[in-house]
Amino acid sequence: MSRHRHQHGKRRCCRLTDLQPGERARIRCHHTQGATRQRLLDLGFVPQVQVDVVRRAPLGDPIECQIDTFKVALRLAEAALIEVER
């Protein structure tokens, strides 16, 4: 078990909103519960999955992410609740 702890210690954890367009990260967990979490999971925001931030909308919000080949748009408010590790 200590091996895992060590591994996580090396990675940098942040929120999905902290990524700049063009950056890639791995989803660690959601800080949402219930329906919102389920909706994110259903559209592919699954823990341990790789996510690329493609761009921000012209007005800055929402952001476009790529998971596998899917492109998904989500608001900063929700993206801030997704914890990722670079």
């Binding site: 078990m1 895992h4 702890r5 060590h6 996580h8 210690g9 954890c13 942040c14 929120r15 660690r28 967990c29 959601h30 800080h31 219930g34 329906a35 919102t36 389920q38 909706r39 994110l40 999971l41 259903d42 559209l43 592919g44 925001f45 699954v46 823990p47 341990q48 999955v49 493609v54 761009r55 909308a57 012209p58 007005l59 800055g60 919000d61 929402p62 476009e64 596998d68 080949t69 899917f70 492109k71 998904v72 748009a73 989500l74 608001r75 408010a77 929700e78 801030a80 609740l81 914890e83």
Partner: protein, 839 residues
């Protein structure tokens, strides 16, 4: 797993799958016409059941609600899950969209975990093929341990194979269905499953499923166990212990980990079974997005798109109505010829009501070319994938007013840029997943300028704002957007505050070229909704309005007065023609009336045909139909006939004048007229006289009727061939009707409640009469307050119409900008600080 005995006659087959996987087409393919729709007990979710018989086995097919997954967060999910657990279907057909197999597998795994026999229906194989996706089906079957059948539900391809697979799977006694491994959690799951069996719960619930759900911390599963074993039972406790132990060891939520395991498995399967030959398309899509969603270029593309839609549908479509209108005019003439002939002064009710109905319908049907173009262009936007981008670009703006990126489509359909219809607009709100924004959209779409408001605006602008025509039109087409945003903001902050919301998580699909068939189908479908509205509601309501405008009618005395004037005119006509040779023929009243009616019909027909050739054909037709009357309609060198023709024209214009005067008197004395008059003390603050009140009331049926009503009410001078604009203008100068009055009316009209058809659609979409009534009364109050502000306020400040327009516009725009920037009212989702893990 229990196999179904072959002797069992009815096989219960559940049809499950995610939304948009084409479940209902597969249902229709399997069951044909043998369907029965009811509700699930206690809830208003449709339960569709159908039957089919295959190789002597009767299959009962139950269509489950389409859901993304089988958790317990929404009503539909709970319904589907309860059916799977409690009704114990013999077999599940899991319909998945073959072009998005990976996401479909998330759902398939959830069913397989319930331990139910599954057949996988790979639907929409044609779409997948078109996208360059090939699926190795035997390999997929091998991985999952179930049969997978390619289907094209839309074309009814794959029915027999699916039925064969259902029977084979149901008869199979040994199954080697894939069991999903959760790595080191498998031990915990196994232990919990043993406890479930020991507790005697496995008879009712699938043991492994319950164990997994308990470990995930699913509320519903805990409730089930607590209900059976009492609170603080061993089973829930040990699940919680295992969960905490895992979380402590891995700094990871068990549920997240398990979802990740399923995702990895799905990825592995898809990687080995699915080949995508056209991955390069993705990069084309990316390249388009790089331009179209570029920070600077995006607004330019958006505005250009909207402008193009406006030009093609509204401007070009309006030109097309010139070619379309003659057909409608012919239809009216046809109806007029079938109905009883017109009387000298008064028509039979049958005739006047029939023509009233046709006129109401025609006014709306005239817009069909515009709608066909508009709806085709919108379908192109949707199918190509750009509509989703528009939602992406505009979401921030709309969200700050409580709306949603996907509110754009309903707004465009409703007529953001002067021309649309709220009925398809309200219908299109179906796609908005956020309930609060959806309600706000439904209630504000009617503020958009529907096509039917335009003639009324044009009329008033031409009379009162002629020097500032384009400014006034710009004012009207943009002020409604600002008001709609403000109202949406107000509603979401007040009455809709507690309504459920959902996150904005939206797929941005790849661009692809829309098909002619798909676009045509959607455009025709939406136009058909519009035609249905005209054919049913508008016609029905126009009858009511007709009745309210007709009765109780004017008294005998006044009618006798009009009759006397008519008699005098007839007497004069007879005097004028008595020297000629036609006099004896027209002594009979009936013959005279016939001549006048034929002449009116001829004149109307003459106006609607164009060109010398058309006119010749028309003449020929009338000459063969009415050989004895035609010389009087068109006197060719015959002196006597010429005299009759002149006198006849005088007589018929006198008749028309009298008929109009009767109509005005009738409206004034009618029920609607009485209501209009009784409202005057209130509405004079907004500058509305009773005529305007009547027009507003009658426009509730459909807005277009307001221009017709105004046309009747402002008719002095109509016999001198003055246009309605001139008539209104000349009457206005007499009665102190100023541009300020006109502005107040236009603004009221812009904010006025939706027409009846739209309110009914609001009832359908919100499922409540309460919201329907709200959608009627709130805009009335709002529009009235705005009109009073403009009229009374403008008077008090001594401002002219155009000055007040500028002032009002400035106020509304400033208010909108202020509300848009001021966001603190919105409950910000609490952001969780990411704790510095593992330091």
């Amino acid at each position: 797993m229990v196999s179904v005995p072959v002797s069992k006659k009815t096989l219960c087959v559940g049809l499950a799958g995610q939304q948009n996987a084409g479940k209902s087409t597969v249902f229709n393919m399997l069951t044909g016409a043998n369907q029965h729709i009811a509700n699930y007990p206690g809830v208003t979710v449709d339960k569709k059941t159908g039957y089919c018989i295959y190789q002597g086995v009767r299959m009962e097919v139950v269509d489950l609600p389409g859901t993304y997954s089988l958790t317990s967060f929404s009503l539909e999910e709970r319904v589907a899950r309860d059916f799977l657990i409690h009704d114990k279907p013999d077999l599940i057909v899991n319909v998945v969209d073959a072009s998005t197999l990976k996401r479909g597998l998330y759902f398939t795994f959830q069913i397989m975990e319930m331990g139910l026999p599954v057949v996988l229906g790979l639907n929409m194989m044609d779409v997948a093929q078109k996208n360059g996706i090939t699926i190795d089906i035997p390999k997929l079957e091998h991985h999952l341990g179930i049969q997978a059948i390619p289907l094209i539900g839309r074309k009814r391809i794959g029915k027999k194979d699916l039925q064969d697979a259902i029977l084979a799977t149901a008869r199979q006694s040994e199954r080697s269905m894939l069991s999903i491994s959760y790595g080191e959690l498998d031990q915990d799951i196994y232990a919990l499953q043993q406890q479930v069996v020991e507790a005697g719960l496995s008879a009712t619930y699938p043991g492994r499923w319950l164990a997994i759900k308990l470990l995930e911390g699913d509320n519903e599963a805990e409730r089930i166990v607590n209900g059976a074993l009492g609170p603080d039972n061993q089973l829930v406790q040990s699940a919680r212990r295992a969960r905490t132990a895992f979380a402590d060891a891995h700094y990871m939520d068990v549920a997240d980990y398990m979802v990740g395991c399923r995702d990895k498995l799905a990825s592995t399967i898809v990687q080995s079974c699915v080949k995508e030959s056209r991955k390069d398309r993705v990069s084309l899509s990316d390249r388009i997005d790089m331009v179209v969603l570029n920070r600077l270029a995006a607004p330019i593309f958006l505005i250009a798109t909207v402008f193009l839609i406006y030009q093609l549908s509204i401007v070009k479509g309006y030109e097309l109505t010139q070619y379309w209108w003659p057909f409608l005019a012919k239809f009216r003439a046809l109806v007029a010829s079938v109905l009883p002939d017109a009387g000298m002064l008064e028509d039979s009710y049958l005739r006047s009501m029939g023509l009233w109905m046709v006129d109401s319908a025609n006014a709306l049907l005239n817009y069909i070319p515009i709608f066909l173009i508009l709806f085709s262009l919108i379908a192109i936007l949707e199918d190509s994938g750009y509509m989703a981008r528009i939602a992406f670009i505009l979401d921030k703006l709309l969200h700050s007013f409580g709306l949603h990126g996907q509110s754009t489509l309903p707004y465009i359909l409703g007529g953001v840029f002067a021309g649309g219809c709220a009925v398809p607009g309200v219908m299109a709100t179906k796609g908005i997943p956020d309930h609060r924004s959806r309600m706000a959209t439904i209630l504000t779409v009617p503020y958009m300028n529907c096509l039917a408001k335009i003639p009324f605006y044009t009329l008033l602008i031409n009379v009162f704002f002629a020097p500032y025509k384009s400014w006034a039109m710009l004012f009207l087409s943009t002020i409604t957007i600002f008001v709609a945003l403000l109202v949406a903001r107000l509603l979401t902050a007040t009455v809709l505050r507690t309504t459920e919301t959902a996150p904005f998580v939206m797929e941005l699909p790849r661009y692809h070229a829309p098909t002619l068939f798909g676009v045509g189908q959607r455009a025709i479908e939406r136009t058909w909704q519009y035609i249905k509205k005209v054919g049913t509601i508008v016609v029905a309501v126009s009858v009511c309005v007709f009745t309210l405008l007709q009765f109780p009618g004017i008294g005998q005395d006044r009618m006798a007065g009009f009759q006397q004037q008519m008699d005098e005119a007839v007497a004069k006509f007879r005097r004028d023609i008595q020297t000629g040779g036609y006099s004896s023929r027209l002594q009979d009243d009936e013959a005279l009336l016939r001549l006048i009616n034929v002449q009116s019909a001829y004149r109307a027909a003459r106006l609607s045909v164009g060109g010398a050739e058309g006119a010749r054909r028309l003449d020929a037709r009338y000459e063969t139909k009415y050989p004895e009357l035609f010389p009087l309609l068109k006197a060719r060198g015959d002196k006597d006939a010429g005299a009759v023709n002149r006198a006849l024209r005088q007589l018929s214009s006198k008749r028309e004048l009298l008929r109009r005067q009767i109509k005005e008197a009738q409206i004034e004395a009618s029920f609607l007229g009485m209501v209009g008059r009784s409202l005057e003390p209130l509405t004079h603050w907004a500058g509305f006289n009773w005529k305007i009140n009547v027009a507003i009331l009658s426009s509730f049926a459909a807005r277009e009727s307001s221009v017709a009503t105004i046309g009747v009410l402002y008719q002095q001078g109509a016999d001198e061939n003055k246009s309605l604009e001139e008539r209104m203008g000349s009457e206005a100068s007499g009665s102190n009707f100023t541009p300020l009055h006109a502005l107040a009316i236009m603004v009221f009209f812009a904010l006025y409640p939706p027409c009846l058809a739209t309110t009914i659609m609001i009832k359908v979409q919100t499922g409540s009469y309460k919201w329907m009534l709200f959608s009627i009364f709130f805009p009335t109050a709002l529009g009235f307050i705005a009109a009073v502000f403009i009229f009374t306020g403008g008077r008090a400040l001594g401002l002219s119409g155009i000055q007040m327009m500028a002032l009002f516009y400035a106020l509304v725009v400033l208010l909108t900008i202020f509300t848009g920037l001021f966001k603190s009212w919105r409950a910000q989702p609490h952001r969780i600080q990411v704790e510095p893990t593992a330091t």
